[in-house]
């Protein structure tokens, strides 16, 4: 049990982060807090990819003469890092669109609280 916890503490941390983000998206009434939850969820998934790419004792994935290329185990996996660069860009763009929508909502209703919005929509 303890071994499992110590060996995989990063995954437990990420699981907690995912749940916190998801909870924020679903349960928070304020729209900006929902977005904070959404960002936490996206970040936890990006970190999950990066943790998966990690190798104990692996070097940065840049060619090093002392390490050579014979053993790929000496470098961490570079592909998830490049993929997650794209994912970060996507997350930022989504956040930008979401903020544009929030500005439009605030202009129309003068509030960002979900309950109050429902009330004012009637």
């Amino acid at each position: 049990m303890l071994d499992n916890l110590v060996g995989h503490y990063d995954y437990y941390f990420l699981a907690a982060l995912t749940v916190i983000g998801f909870y924020g998206m679903l349960a928070k009434r304020n729209l900006v807090k929902k977005l904070i939850g959404m960002t936490i969820l996206q970040t936890s998934i990006i970190l999950f990819w990066l943790v998966g790419a990690y190798k104990a004792g692996g070097s940065v994935p840049i060619y090093d003469e002392r390490l050579g290329v014979a053993d790929p185990g000496l470098y961490v996996n570079p592909l998830p890092h490049t993929l997650m660069l794209t994912a970060i860009v996507v997350a930022v763009v989504t956040l930008g669109v979401a903020f544009a929508l929030i500005v439009a909502i605030h202009r129309a209703y003068d509030t960002l609280d979900e309950e109050e919005l429902l009330e004012r929509m009637r």
Binding site: L31, L35, Q42, V90, V93, A98, A100, L101, I105, M121
Partner: protein, 496 residues
């Protein structure tokens, strides 16, 4: 020469059009709609050329940047993707031809951004369909979703809020897809679809694979509005402007359904997929959605909202076909992607026609005067409505027929009962509208609807796309045997 590059050319055409439209709009505003139509028409020509090419001489593959797969990103035009791309291109052209008129009337001053965002939306959808790389699919998914958010946020006062909800749900869906993909990537070390399918059969430890597939499935179910994850759809489609709804509604959910189909039966070996409870679960959620969407559609007093709930029900047919995991079930699912795209586009175009002439689409205000004033629009509505119910010579009947055959083959009585019930419920909610349009005399005095904005039928530029789609329903219905034998059966994976 050009044929070999088709898989990459189709999304690229839309992307180039999306970039040129704002430039043209800034220079000579009337040029923008013409450019959008030219881009969409070029897309149709390329997509149909691809369909013919694949039917004649097999799948095409394009290596992005000259990097060979599985390391590089591959764009694949095979039977299924060529078919779905053709559906997206044709329906996209018809709704854009209509949408440029409704956008000019309902959202003046925003025609150029509308056209540009539509083109980005189509870039994303065609890219999702054509790519042979699972991470690339995520990127195109987000491109199409972001364009859809921009399109749907313009409309009534509530539109930004409804779109915000869609954005939160949609981003959760895309994030789940990415999360699930991480499991598959860490297990197989590849992102290429063909390569992953091959490696997955060799993986002994199935639990991470199942976990990944489940997350990807849930993500796509959110995007395709599969019951009970459909909460975002009715509001988002109702509050948006007519032009945006008629473009996003027929295509957005269908392409997400295509991704599920591709993932379950083309990335995985069909034998592998058939053993997964996940696939069966998708089928049962589809059945629940078929009934729930139809019941909710009956309760809606507004035409666009009714059509939105009916979309939830129609997506259920596709999911049910996927869930059966048999050749007939897949034929039904693929055929319904085509039929429903045509039917829903036609119905939403008529709703747009109504709004542009009457200023509303509230069913309690419909009466006989509509038929007198707009005979052709109403005829198109009647044709699409009958097709939705499933009256034989029209296209909608045949996808239901194949689904019923597939259900009988596996003795799935629950699906058969849901099919019959939903057809009857469809009849209830469409005949309710048709009765008012064709038979109810116009009320006098206090109960009368607001005066029309403009008398008479809509102009030809809006009527032609509506009628083309309605005529297409008849043509697809009559030609369905040919479609199934020549296009859909050959695309099914071996070993199904």
């Amino acid at each position: 020469m050009i044929i070999a590059n088709l898989p990459a050319l189709i999304p690229l055409t839309y992307l180039v059009a999306a970039l040129l439209i704002p430039l043209a709009g800034a220079w000579r505003p009337p040029l923008a709609p013409a450019l959008a139509l030219a881009g969409a028409s070029a897309g149709v020509v390329l997509a149909l050329a691809g369909l013919v090419q694949v039917a004649a001489s097999g799948p095409l593959s394009y290596e992005m940047g000259g990097w060979p797969p599985p390391g590089g990103i591959e764009f694949v035009l095979d039977g299924l993707s060529a078919f779905v791309v053709a559906v997206v291109a044709v329906v996209g052209l018809a709704t854009l031809a209509h949408g440029r008129c409704t956008a000019r009337a309902q959202t003046p001053g925003r025609v150029v951004p509308f056209l540009s965002a539509s083109m980005i939306f189509l870039t994303g959808l065609t890219g999702m369909v054509l790519t042979g790389d699972l991470f690339n699919l995520y990127v195109f998914l987000e491109i199409s979703s972001l364009a859809a958010y921009a399109l749907l946020a313009v409309g009534s006062r509530q539109a930004p809020l409804s779109t915000f909800r869609y954005l939160v749900m949609g981003t959760a869906g895309a994030s789940f897809y990415l999360f699930g993909l991480a499991f598959l990537y860490l297990e197989t070390g590849t992102l290429n679809m063909a390569d992953m399918g091959r490696i997955l059969t060799l993986v002994d430890d199935r639990s991470p694979v199942i976990m990944g597939l489940t997350f990807m499935g849930v993500g796509m179910a959110l995007k395709m509005a599969l019951f009970p994850l459909h909460g975002w759809l009715p509001d988002a489609y109702t509050d948006a402007s007519s032009a945006s709804t008629s473009l996003v509604a027929p295509l957005g959910t269908k392409v997400a359904a295509y991704v599920l189909l591709r993932l379950f039966f083309f990335v995985l070996e069909p034998e592998y997929a058939r053993g997964l409870p996940l696939v069966t679960a998708v089928g049962y959620l589809g059945i629940a959605g078929i009934v729930w969407g139809s019941v909710m559609a009956i309760l809606q007093p507004e035409l666009k909202r009714m059509l939105a709930y009916s979309s939830v029900s129609q997506v259920g047919y596709i999911a049910a076909g996927i869930g059966l995991a048999s050749p007939l079930g897949l034929i039904a699912a693929v055929l319904h992607i085509l039929n429903h795209a045509f039917m829903k586009a036609c119905l939403f175009l008529v709703a747009g026609n109504l709004r542009s002439r009457r200023g509303h689409s509230d069913i309690p205000w419909f009466d006989q005067s509509l038929r007198r004033a707009m005979p052709w629009s109403m005829a198109a509505f009647a044709a699409a409505a009958l097709s939705m119910i499933g009256i034989p010579p029209l296209a909608g009947f045949f996808s239901k027929w194949y689904l019923a055959l597939a259900a009988l083959e596996q003795a799935n009585w629950m699906l058969l009962a849901a099919l019959v019930a939903s057809s009857l419920l469809n009849a209830v909610y469409f005949f309710r509208v048709l009765e008012r349009m064709y038979l109810l005399p116009a009320p006098e005095g206090a109960g009368a609807p607001p005066a029309p904005i403009e008398e008479g039928e809509v102009p030809a530029s809006m009527l032609v796309p509506t009628l083309v789609l309605a005529g297409g329903l008849l043509a697809l219905g009559l030609g369905n045997a040919w479609l199934v034998t020549h296009l859909i059966r050959p695309m099914l994976p071996a070993g199904l």
